[in-house]
Symmetry: C2
Subunit: 345 residues, 2 copies
Amino acid sequence: MTAARNRQILLASRPTGEPTPDNFRLAEADVPEPGPGQMLLRTVYLSLDPYMRGRMDAGPSYAEPVGVGAVMEGGAVGEVVKSNLPQYRPGDIAVARTGWQEFALSDGTGVQKVDPALGPISYALGVLGMPGLTAYTGLLNIGQPKPGETLVVAAASGAVGSVVGQIGRIKGCRVVGIAGGERKCRYATEELGFDECLDHRQPGLDKRLKAACPKGIDIYFENVGGAVFEAVLPLLNTFARVPVCGLIAHYNDADLPAGPNRVPLLMRSVLVKRLTVRGFIVGDFAAQYPDFLRDVGGWLREGRVKYREDVTDGLENAPDELIGLLRGENFGKKVIRVGPDPTRG
Amino acid sequence: MTAARNRQILLASRPTGEPTPDNFRLAEADVPEPGPGQMLLRTVYLSLDPYMRGRMDAGPSYAEPVGVGAVMEGGAVGEVVKSNLPQYRPGDIAVARTGWQEFALSDGTGVQKVDPALGPISYALGVLGMPGLTAYTGLLNIGQPKPGETLVVAAASGAVGSVVGQIGRIKGCRVVGIAGGERKCRYATEELGFDECLDHRQPGLDKRLKAACPKGIDIYFENVGGAVFEAVLPLLNTFARVPVCGLIAHYNDADLPAGPNRVPLLMRSVLVKRLTVRGFIVGDFAAQYPDFLRDVGGWLREGRVKYREDVTDGLENAPDELIGLLRGENFGKKVIRVGPDPTRG
C-alpha cells in the first residue's frame, strides 16, 4: 500500500454558470497512513448530486464552499483498509463524506457502517442514504401527504424524486411526476407506479399539468424551480405544502432572470391560498434515520419501492458526469464506481 | 323605526390601482324588519381594514368579492334593536359582519356577543377582535417566538402589528418595528415598548435594519410586502419563520413590478436558510379564540398590551378613510363611529 498513489479530483477554479471540465483537475497524492484514532478508507462508489454545484461557488450557503485547489466534496461508500478505530475493522463497508478521491482518512465522525445484507452497498448513497432520507423526511414532515391528495414531484426519475413519488403512492396520493424526456416519464409511470408523468421538454406544460391535476395540487415537492414552479403555482390548492429541497434549474444561473418581478405574485399566492413554503436539508431531520431505514428498507424488500442507478466507471469521469447530471442527462441515481466492489464477485 | 332610513355604502365600481371616491356610492334603503329567527342590529362602530381592498377586486381570493352595487363588506359592533332570536335581546352588543350600513339583519351566524366589561366595545374590532386574533395566532403558531430571538414587525403601529410586537416582547424577543413616519415610530418604542422602530420613509432602510438586528432576524411578521420584505430577506437567519398575513404595499398594484424576476433569489433563500414562509388568515385559527381572549384580554387589563384607535365619525367618511388607510395615513386601528355608542354617556 505504501507505494500506492491516491488519485483525487480537485476544484481547479470556480465556474460561472454551467461548470466546464477545466473547473476540475485530476491530481495524485500519496495514500495517507492512518494515525491514532483514524482509519483509511478506499472509495468504492462516489455519489454525484446536484447540491455539489452549490459547493463550487464562493457564496454563502448552508455549508462551506469547497476551496479552490481542494478535493471536491462528496459522499462515498468505501471499504476500510486499515483502522486504528476500535469499531471499524479492515473489510468493513462504510458511507462517509470522503470526497472525490480513491483513498481518505477518517476519524469516524459522520460515518455510518453499511450492512451489505440490506442491498447493494451503493444503495447507501441513494434510496437507503442521503437522497432517500431527503425524500422521506421532506415529504412526511413538510408535505404531510393524506390519502386522496395530489402530489406533484419534479425530477421524477431522480434519486430523490423517484422515492418521493413512490412514498406518496404508498400514502394514498395521486402522484404526478415531471421529468425530462419520454423515457424517464415512461419509467416513472410503468416502473415506479406514478399515476402520470409529464415531459417538461414538450410544450404546454402548464396546460398538461392542469389536465393531470383535476383537483389541483396539495403538495409540490420542489427540487427544480424555474418553469416547473411557475406552472405549479396557479394550481396549488388552499393549504398546499411546498417542501423546498433543491432548485436544480437555477444552480448554473449567473444572473436573475428577466422581469417582471414575480415575488409579489408568489407572496400573494402564499397569503391567499395559505401556502406553506419551507426549505430543508437532510440534516435537519437526521434523528429520523432509524425510522427511515425501517420504512424505506422494508418497502424496498417488499418491492413497493423501486430504485434505479446510473453507474459510470472511473473517478476521472466524475467531472463530465456531474456536468451531465446538472443538464438532466442521468437516468436514475448517478454513481461513479471508483474501485472494485468487494461485495460483488 | 318603520319610518327610519338605512344609509349604506355600496361598491359602485371596481378600482384599478388605488381606489377613488367614485368607486363607492352612498345609498338609502328602508330599515328592514326582522323575520322569524332574525334580529335587527344598529351599527355603532364599523371597522376599516386593509383586506377590504381585496374584496373590491373581481379576482379570486380567500373570500368572494363584493358584487358591484352591493353593500361593502366589513365587521362592525352593533346594538340589538329587535330580536326574534332567543339568545339576543334588545340592548345587547354584538360584533358581526354586517357591512358598511347603519342597520342590518342577522340570523346569528358568525355573531359574537360583546361584553362591555372587557373594555370599550369598539375593541372587539381591534385588539380583542379580528386584528388581535390575527396577531396572536399568526405569531404564536407560525412565528413561534423564543426568548432572545429577533422579531421584525412591519406596520408596527397598526391594528395587527402593534399587538404582534407587544406579544413578541412578552415572549422575550427583541422587537424591531417598521412604520411610516417618525410619529408612529416614536409611539412604537415609547408607548408599545418596541426595542427599536425604523421609519421606512427615510432612505437606507436595509442598512438601518441590519444595524437594528445585529443577530439577524428570526421572525418576520409580514403584512406589508414590497421594499420592506426585500430589506428583510437578506437578514433572515437559518430556520427563520415568516407568517404572511397581509401585503398592503401591493393591494393597489395593477401590474407586477419591473424585473429582474427575484423569485429564484427568494426560493434560494428559502432553501439555503431553511425558511418557513406560511400564509394564514384569522379564520384558520378560530378555535384559539378563547385562549386569545384570556391571554390578550389579561395583558390588556394588566397594561402589558396597549392599544390605540383612530376614530372618525360618520358612515359617509368611510370611503375616504379606507383610501387613507391603504396609504398608511391612519395612526392606530381605524374605526368609523356610525351611530351613538350606548355604553358611553
